[in-house]
Symmetry: C2
């Protein structure tokens, strides 16, 4: 999946050490695909997926909005040229002083999932719009969501009622179907829940206007995934089914889907060895691992596609591990990874589809290794 | 466990945001305890546990040696005042150019666990000393080691024979019984394995001189752990049992045991909420989580002691989570953590025993949050 531009960059610049190289042209294409797939939805790019200034500037120039997780991300989006009305503070867990700072910077759209958070927003961002996140079950997602964010739909009604009473504008409902979600029906279930909240509040005279359908749009790792267009059609059908001809304003928050397939990590084979002379298990150690940017291999959740200079030679499964002195720094062991048996110390490999959730996850200095370098071209 | 100096620092300086505060006096005390417990062993501090320059300078001045995982850590130890002969390059996974760089800097002691690594050391660090790491089963450790490092004892014989043939000095054997190891018998089993390797090579005329007994010395989190003295006695008995009156030179590599209990993380309660009105599960969100330095809560492995201003009030278990928009950023959920029911948004809590494996694990910028700040006092 590495583009020719990325391959040329790596071959010409020969960067030393592991690095992530991301092709902005792929981001541009992804943005247009989302626009075409869901022409009536506003796109809020999830900055946390990759906050590289070049990406934010490109998306700001294309008209994207931005979903942010912290004041620092709000500032990055503003620096990239987005006006404050194009930025949402989408983290449901915020310090009151951070809400106040975002409000000062002009932000007027905040996520909440409980009355306690509504109270903070009402004090620190009077009159702002809030949307309440509802829980979804996350079935079908590769990186499941647990119950950390959101509340049950019945409680969302209470939360938004409280917001309205405290002088906020109860603006809508959000959900997230789980990252890397390949089950198109997941959106349908969540939209049905959202409609319930709309209806319950309408009976009390509170008119919600917006459904934030979150992210979850997958990037292609090893398996084929539905196209943005397939998502768009399925989502539009569900919206019509639940909301009829009174469609709400909708938002989507692609992160991985916007940048995941635009980036590639270049890594190096540091060691290939076995643990005993008569052992069948081959260990392959790279110069990047779980603490150098591949945090999403935790529990072997995300399985990246790896390209080697020896592809085509006979392959055998191996345990794939990182370079640190930490025994937890192993990417694939329970489900070993097939790689060419001819793979040799010093070989350069490409870990594909690593444009999202890599550079910022990287440990700041674990084992003395520097954070993952990033080149946006 | 926070010392009065740490409490005074936090109360006087009022640092904003989460931070780790570490008391050097505790490190000094730990160093002396290790010295007294194992007077015949050389102490090689595992720099990766916490490479703060103040810690390295103190330990260098006390006469400590240093176990390093990368060229950057070698340079930090040199900068702190350690001479090259007091530094070991203890990572078994090294790029050949990093071995060469360390050799240039004067390093003459390298870890290996396979012939492929021996070949690199022989080319890049001719004549250097090597020790071979053998696998242990890790039973009894809280942070188990998997099979990432080391080889079986029979293969260690082959590895060290190859080293000698390639002009290196086959110097000894190392093992690591697993971090936070509370089973004193674990050292005995590993020392028995080491002796086997000594004996097999002696028959071929190769005399090993050193046993590197690694780290694994625990710091106190919630459970009581044996004292350094208890470890010392048990280890000395095992050494005598296996090696008789021809005791080898020994090395220990404490990391967590040297700095873990010297540090405390100050954090803030950002939100306390439930997911449904009739829910019994309380969620407590802090301004630090798995990606902000508490990586070792992965799989709920390490359970830190948490002190709150409301201790003494009635407690109930809660799910404890971090501040990022990542659903995996949950510290304790399967095994919920008891905290006072009166705990309130804005409360400051202390996460005790966090001097090791926190600051450097911290993500460089995930969700826009800055890495964990560190104050060494």
């Amino acid at each position: 999946m590495a583009t020719q531009r990325i391959l040329d960059f790596i071959n010409t610049r020969r960067p030393n050490g592991p690095c992530m190289v991301l092709d902005l042209e792929v981001v541009r294409e992804n943005f247009h695909n989302f626009e075409m797939a869901l022409p009536d939805s506003k796109i809020f790019y999830a900055v946390k997926a990759n906050p590289a200034p070049e990406i934010l500037r490109l998306l700001a120039s294309l008209g994207s909005n931005f979903d942010t997780a912290s004041v620092a991300e709000v500032e990055m989006a503003l620096d990239a040229g987005a006006s404050a009305d194009r930025i949402s503070f989408g983290n449901t867990i915020k310090k009151e002083r951070d809400i106040a700072r975002a409000f000062e910077l002009g932000i007027r759209l905040f996520a909440v999932d409980c009355v306690e958070e509504v109270e903070k927003v009402a004090r620190a961002a009077p009159g702002a719009r809030v949307f309440c996140r509802v829980l979804t079950d996350g079935a079908g997602a590769e990186w499941p969501l647990s119950r950390k964010f959101g509340c049950v739909p019945a409680m969302a009604v209470d939360v938004l009622r409280a917001a309205q009473k405290l002088g906020l504008e109860s603006y809508g409902v959000s959900f997230h179907v789980g990252s890397q979600q390949t089950d198109l029906a997941a959106w349908d279930r969540a939209l049905g829940d959202a409609k319930q909240v709309f209806d319950a509040l309408a009976k009390e005279g509170i008119t919600l206007k917006m459904v934030n359908m979150g992210g979850g749009f997958p990037t292609r790792y090893l398996k084929d995934v539905p196209t943005a267009q397939a998502y768009g059609q399925a989502i539009f059908q569900s919206l019509s089914k639940h909301f009829g001809n009174r469609l709400p304003e909708t938002i989507i928050e692609p992160g991985r889907g916007m940048v995941g397939n635009a980036g590639v990590i270049k890594a190096e084979v540091v060691l290939v060895s076995k643990k005993a002379d008569n052992d069948n298990v081959r260990w392959v150690y790279l110069d990047i691992g779980k603490f150098g940017g591949l945090a999403e291999t935790m529990d072997e959740a995300i399985r990246y596609q790896i390209t080697t200079p020896r592809d085509g030679d006979r392959s055998e499964p191996c345990v794939l591990a990182g370079p640190t002195c930490d025994s937890a720094d192993v990417m694939y062991e329970k489900n070993p990874y097939p790689l060419p048996i001819s793979l040799t110390i010093g070989d350069e490999v490409l870990i594909e589809g690593t444009g999202a959730y890599t550079t910022t996850y990287s440990a700041v200095a674990f084992n003395g290794f520097e954070p993952l370098r990033s080149y946006v071209i």
